[in-house]
């Protein structure tokens, strides 16, 4: 058996998953190959550490809580939406608000003088003038005033 094949069989050997033929061949290789045997022993040591790790018991009252919740509790549901997609809506809203703020400031600056002029004009008393200057009445008045002065 070659070393590469032997190394591939280390884990299944430790887990008792080899056929009889593979097991015999593997053990024979381990007797002859120092490097493979060292790797096998490292993996076996790791396996023993893990299998000796602490086992946890369900906490006190666990079954009571499950039975109490089984009718009412809904198991947690998770939206399986990609991470970037979850931010898309928020980012889009923030961009729109940002555009609105920037546009508003820009437009407001451009119209400020014209706006004040229009506001002033809207409060002018000229609109109440019965004979605006450019009307027929207004021309007639201008002519009679000029005549009186003469």
């Amino acid at each position: 058996m070659r070393c590469k094949r032997a190394r591939d069989l280390i884990s299944p050997y430790i887990d008792g998953e080899l056929s009889e033929r593979e097991r015999v061949s593997f053990e024979s290789h381990m007797k002859d190959c120092v490097n493979c045997r060292a790797e096998f022993e490292e993996t076996l040591h790791l396996h023993n550490l893990l299998t000796g790790a602490e086992r946890f018991s369900a906490p006190y009252g666990f079954s009571t809580r499950v039975l109490a919740n089984q009718e009412t509790k809904t198991p947690r549901k998770v939206l399986l939406v990609p991470l970037f997609a979850r931010f898309t809506g928020v980012v889009a809203v923030l961009i729109i608000i940002g555009i609105g703020i920037v546009s508003g400031r820009f437009l407001g600056r451009g119209f400020s003088f014209q706006k004040s002029g229009n506001i002033a004009a809207s409060f002018s008393l000229d609109i109440f003038n019965a004979t605006p200057p450019d009307s027929v009445g207004g021309v007639y008045l201008a002519m009679t005033e000029a005549k009186n002065e003469k």
């Binding site: 591939d8 280390i10 884990s11 299944p12 887990d15 998953e17 490292e42 993996t43 790791l46 396996h47 550490l49 893990l50 299998t51 000796g52 790790a53 602490e54 086992r55 946890f56 018991s57 369900a58 906490p59 666990f62 079954s63 809580r65 499950v66 039975l67 919740n69 089984q70 509790k73 198991p75 947690r76 998770v78 939206l79 399986l80 939406v81 991470l83 979850r86 931010f87």
Partner: protein
């Protein structure tokens, strides 16, 4: 032993399907420790582990009527538990912020000794810490197969059933996971 357990589980399921709700309580008590244990190792802290284990049994309760006897009950429960734990790790971003960080619990390796010396206890804690750190560094698929194989003691066939993958894939993942874990532990111990 395995066959006796399987027959016992099938009997409980039959009783449950016939309307005997107390059969579910027996199933719960019989399997709660192994399910809680796998959740604890997959999620790393006791609060999440209890939530996930509870959700597992609630889902099991709601779907037990559809259970098919061609698989064993405990591999079916493990499958629900593993998928539940993997879903827990996919929490939406804002939910994970407001939930806050839950500290991982220390998983201490205990040596089978009647009167461990202080040196051995220290060594045991260091080993356990290195193992915990190493396990945490693994990818989900590697960590899952190692937990099912090394800690839960499932066979390759049972792991294939739980994860819905081929036995060849199980074999390959376990080999690679052990190699990766060895490297992570070596890296960790060299940094200290």
């Amino acid at each position: 032993m395995v066959n006796a357990n399987k027959a016992d589980d099938l009997s409980l399921i039959s009783r449950f399907k016939a309307g005997d709700i107390s059969a579910f309580e027996e199933i719960l008590i019989k399997h709660q420790d192994r399910i809680y244990n796998v959740c604890r190792y997959m999620l790393g802290n006791k609060d999440d582990a209890e939530d996930a284990a509870q959700d597992t049994f609630i889902k099991a309760y709601r779907n037990l009527r559809d259970f098919r006897p061609d698989s064993s009950l405990y591999t079916w429960l493990y499958r629900i538990a593993v998928n539940t734990c993997l879903d827990y790790k996919k929490l939406p971003f804002f939910a994970s912020i407001f939930r806050g960080t839950r500290e991982d619990d220390e998983v201490v390796n205990e040596l089978p000794s009647d009167e461990p010396s202080p040196e051995r206890l220290y060594e045991s804690k260091q080993t356990g810490h290195a193992l915990r750190v190493g396990l945490k560094q693994l990818s989900e698929k590697f960590r899952t197969v190692l937990i099912l194989r090394e800690i839960e003691g499932l066979s390759y066939e049972e792991i294939a059933e739980v994860l819905d993958i081929s036995i060849g894939t199980v074999k390959s993942r376990i080999s690679r996971a052990r190699e990766e874990l060895k490297q992570q532990i070596t890296k960790f111990t060299e940094q200290k």
